[in-house]
């Protein structure tokens, strides 16, 4: 029996002809691509190219911008995320997000992680919550550093620790997908390496989409890379191909530092 079909990763997410407008200004043009399940996909491109706008389509973060309109389909497991039937709050429990600057709540380390599971009713008692907090911090590679500081203020952690706390907070509510918008741009090289190693670990459990300005980071952490320019998806393919022999001249120029 030919089982080769089973080896092809399913598209966890699909974008079909996605157009995004900020008032009259169009930010994305007919973007269509599929995201493999349990993989890391990088979105790269110069500032203003639409990569962060596209990332925010996947958890409807653009909904909070009044002038923003999104056309086309974003499918999670073949369900259209923009359907009126979808509750954005529940959607964001399945698709977590980590931002450029670590943004822990001004609460304790424990409360930062427990906050999401509590409002989603994921723990029946303190024991279950303790388990979720510990498990999430372990998955985020932070447990050893904070296990004796759970009641300390999260804002007292280092920048890299705060960012991993934000990742723990995002995964505490059991998402399928993690969106990361330049998660290392505010971190030093050591903290960046720790986050990159963490991304590789998390890949076995989550489908990860990451926006990054670091070509080397995209090359290191992702299996697929999409290059955007002026709102267009210029090239999308295997990361090692994009960074060694890109097919499009614009991609080549960008990754080689030939256009701003």
């Amino acid at each position: 029996m030919d089982t080769s079909v089973d080896m092809i990763p399913e598209n966890k997410l699909k974008a079909q002809k996605v157009n995004v407008f900020y008032a009259e200004k169009q930010a994305l043009y007919d973007v269509t691509l599929g995201i493999d399940e349990k993989s890391v996909t990088s979105f790269i491109g110069p500032s203003g190219c639409g990569k962060s706008t596209f990332l925010r389509c996947f958890n409807r973060m653009n909904d909070v911008i009044p002038s923003c309109r999104v056309q086309g389909q974003i499918l999670l497991d073949d369900v259209d995320l923009n359907s009126p039937k979808i509750d954005p709050v529940l959607l964001r429990a399945r698709i977590g997000m980590v931002f450029q600057k670590p943004n822990p709540f001004p609460k304790t380390v424990y409360e930062n992680v427990a906050y999401g599971p509590r409002i989603h009713g994921l723990a029946a008692n303190r024991q279950e919550m303790d388990y979720i907090v510990e498990d999430s911090l372990k998955k985020a590679g932070l447990w050893k550093e904070v296990s004796d500081r759970l009641n300390d203020q999260a804002t007292g952690l280092s920048g890299g620790q705060q960012q991993r706390l934000c990742i723990a907070r995002a995964i505490a509510i059991g998402p399928d997908v993690l969106l990361m918008d330049e998660p290392c741009s505010a971190l030093d090289p050591i903290a960046t390496s720790i986050i990159e190693e963490l991304i590789s670990d998390l890949q076995s459990r989550f489908t990860i989409l990451i926006v990054t300005h670091s070509m080397q980071q995209a090359a290191r952490v992702s299996q697929k890379t999409a290059y955007f320019h002026l709102g267009q998806l210029i090239e999308y393919g295997d990361t090692k191909e994009i960074f060694t022999r890109p097919q499009n001249e614009q991609t080549e120029a960008y990754i080689s530092g030939k256009i701003g």
Binding site: M215, Q216, A219, F243, T244, R245, P246, E252, A253, I255, S256, G257, K258, I259, G260
Partner: protein, 236 residues
């Protein structure tokens, strides 16, 4: 700003320096090889000494190219064609340095042959074989300068001619050695010299493959035609 320029102009300067150094190494290797073929015919002692003495210049320039490539990788993090440019420069530099070593070896062996003073060894085709190989080296380095993958492939295909000449020369020298035991020592040196030339032809094809990779990001799909049959010659 031109399309092919980097925003960081020092990156262009680095790649340009690498390029110029590699082309200089190419010129030096071709000159050393050309002189070694000429000196094989003339047995001119000063020329032979110069070839042997100048080989160190190729070693030094190869080391400088390696150092520059190392620095570019560390400082500029090249990608795509820039990365191929640096990797290809490293490989071609090594090939050209080895070409210089073979030229020096030809000079060393020619000195021994000149001392033996034997006039009865046939050498009619070795000069021609050297010229064809020299032309291949020149053409392939021109193809590098112009990033011309088609021209590089043309050189790649021409190596079969050197292979044929090598096989013929091998049989010719072997026959002479069979007829006259007095020429065995000289004949053995000539066989090595011919093999050196044949290897330099192979190196030219190696450079051609690097140029193709530089331009297209992949190695040539066809297998290279080969016709060196010396390993199968059992007697004459």
């Amino acid at each position: 700003m031109k399309d092919n320029q980097h925003i960081v102009t020092a990156f262009d300067d680095d790649l340009s320096e690498l390029n110029i150094s590699l082309q200089n190494l190419g010129k030096m290797a071709i000159t050393q090889f050309e002189l070694s073929i000429d000196a094989l015919a003339t047995q001119h002692q000063n020329t032979l000494d110069k070839i042997i003495k100048d080989d160190v210049n190729l070693d030094d320039l190869e080391a400088a190219i390696h150092e520059k490539a190392f620095e570019i990788i560390a400082v500029r993090s090249p990608l795509a064609q820039d990365l191929r440019h640096v990797l290809v420069a490293l490989k071609i530099a090594t090939i050209l340095e080895r070409t210089g070593d073979y030229a020096r070896n030809i000079a060393n062996r020619t000195k021994v042959i000149a001392t033996a003073g034997n006039e009865n060894i046939p050498g009619v085709n070795i000069g021609r074989m050297g010229q064809v190989t020299r032309d291949m080296l020149q053409d392939v380095m021109r193809a590098y300068a112009t990033r011309d993958a088609d021209k590089a492939l043309d050189v790649w295909r021409r190596d079969i001619e050197v292979d044929h000449m090598h096989t013929a020369f091998y049989k010719e020298v072997l026959a002479s050695m069979s007829r006259d035991p007095n020429v065995v020592a000289t004949g053995a040196h000539l066989l090595f010299i011919a093999k050196n030339i044949e290897r330099i032809g192979d190196y030219a094809t190696g450079i051609a493959e690097q140029i193709y990779f530089l331009v297209h990001g992949a190695v040539p799909e066809d297998s290279r035609p080969k016709a060196d049959r010396t390993s199968r010659v059992v007697g004459v």
